[in-house]
């Protein structure tokens, strides 16, 4: 058994909230440079340049890339040999979000009740997904998710007869309807299989994979490529104003499903593909 203290979790989450909101990974910079080289629309190219300029200023000054610093989505991989002492895991994470969003001057965008809608003032509660894994490590990823792209996402229960053609049609439909709203160039996370609640979880998790990295299964990787080409033929372009680059990448995650089911979820991510990870 390895001991991890709750206060260590809190401090880590606080740091990750600030880092994720202001610093994008090397994969993002590569994807954006490739997008700029590929973009034929003059306005689209100009927008891609400005987005990189914005991200550079944000990283240099540790300022939020976008004012919508989102809901803090926290992915936890908890080794079953880990014992958390000095408090419970979820309280420790929420304390970290409270601290990070306050100290980092990040926008607090969470309301306490979806009907009454009073801002909680500290961006809690976070949305926390925990997986119990082998080993004695605790891996925490903070992925702040803004509503501009989240609101354009969707899930659909297809029939097995709809097959791959049905999946493609649905993913394209979601992207087309979203247009410029989710701040393209987007990253498209797709979850296929599982059941109603598993598919969106897979779609969100797919957004964490580094840009440009294909799924290890060949047929899934091929579908990612195919969808990316189809999405970029839509003409939506940077910010939806027309162009060749609508998506930086498409990531698919799959899971076994029922003989009668084919759930498909599409989670759209704006160009600010934010996430930061630490291993304790």
């Amino acid at each position: 058994m390895r001991e991890v203290r709750a206060e260590e979790i809190t401090a880590t989450v606080a740091r990750l909230c600030i880092e994720a909101c202001s610093v994008l990974g090397p994969d993002w910079w590569q994807a954006m440079a490739a997008a700029e080289a590929k973009e034929e629309a003059p306005l689209g190219r100009d927008i891609l340049k400005k987005l990189q300029e914005n991200a550079l200023l944000a990283a240099e000054n540790l300022e939020p890339i976008c004012q919508d610093t989102g809901v803090a989505v926290v992915f936890v991989e908890l080794g079953q040999q880990v014992h958390i002492s000095g408090g419970n895991l979820y309280d420790a994470i929420n304390a970290g979000v409270r601290q990070g969003y306050t100290e980092g001057y990040l926008r607090k965008s969470v309301v306490d009740d979806p009907l009454l809608r009073r801002n909680t003032g500290d961006n809690t509660p976070a949305i926390i997904h925990t997986e119990i894994v082998d080993g004695d490590h605790l891996k925490i990823t903070v992925a702040p998710k803004g509503a501009g792209s989240e609101n354009m996402s969707g899930v659909k229960m297809l029939k097995p007869a709809d097959g791959v053609a049905g999946i493609k049609k649905y993913v394209l439909q979601v992207v087309e309807e979203a247009g410029g709203n989710p701040c393209p160039p987007i990253v498209v996370g797709v979850g296929i299989g599982g059941n109603l609640e598993k598919a969106p979880y897979l779609a969100k998790k797919a957004l964490l994979r580094p840009l440009g990295q294909r799924h290890p299964l060949k047929h899934v990787a091929a579908l990612e490529e195919e969808l990316l080409a189809a999405i970029n033929a839509s003409g939506i372009g940077p910010q939806g104003l027309g162009g060749r680059v609508t998506a930086l990448d498409v990531h698919i995650e799959i899971y076994p499903t029922h003989i009668a089911s084919l759930p498909v979820a599409v989670n759209l991510q704006c160009h600010a593909a934010r996430h930061a990870t630490a291993i304790l």
Binding site: A58, E63, C66, Q67, R117, G148, G237, G242, C270
Partner: protein, 183 residues
């Protein structure tokens, strides 16, 4: 690059064309979901708006808090479509001349813009740091309890926007997408 200063007159607004790049200077007001809801409820109940919007621009933004020594935090546009149910009333009855946001607008909003003479500007979504650099002053003028959704009065200088939908109903989203569509 065109330069305009608020308040805007109808002739200036009607001369702007979809795709024009514009730099705005002067005063603009912020307002998003909760503020719009409250403004429209107030008007329907026979009350008055907390700010006079005649010939003014509303920027759909909920900024990040300002750090010590700074005017404002990141301040890029939010999705305008969420304000569509409220915008026609402000345009037709309160003389709102301009809106800044991102994403498409409903046919009802576009119709009100054409009839009353109002323009829809686009700012780059997600470029909150760049936008904030053009905001020289910021103060909350109404609905402080709404936090990031309060109405701010912003003093802006050469604030960069693109005309998204003009008073003739030309829509840059439709134009741009059609030009590059391959399917």
């Amino acid at each position: 690059m065109l330069k305009i200063t608020t308040p805007l007159d109808e002739a200036t607004v009607r001369s702007l064309k979809a795709g024009d790049q514009v730099l705005i200077s002067g005063i603009i007001y912020t307002g998003r979901d909760a503020a719009h809801k409250r403004m429209v409820e107030t008007l329907r109940a026979g009350g008055e708006l907390p700010v006079d919007l005649r010939d003014q621009i509303i920027y759909y933004v909920g900024p990040c808090p300002a750090r010590p020594g700074k005017v404002i935090g990141s301040a890029g546009p939010t999705t305008s479509g969420r304000m569509d149910p409220y915008a026609p009333l402000l345009i037709r009855e309160k003389g709102l001349r301009g809106m800044i946001g991102k994403g498409g607008r409903s046919p009802e909003v576009i119709k009100a813009m054409q009839e009353a003479g109002a323009v829809y500007f686009l700012a780059i979504g997600g470029a909150g740091v760049l936008m904030a650099r053009h905001i020289k002053k910021a103060e909350v003028v109404a609905y402080e309890d709404l936090g990031p959704e309060a109405i701010y009065r912003l003093e802006v200088e050469d604030f960069p926007v693109i005309v998204g939908i003009d008073t003739l109903g030309n829509d840059l989203y439709a134009i741009g997408r059609a030009e590059y569509r391959r399917v």
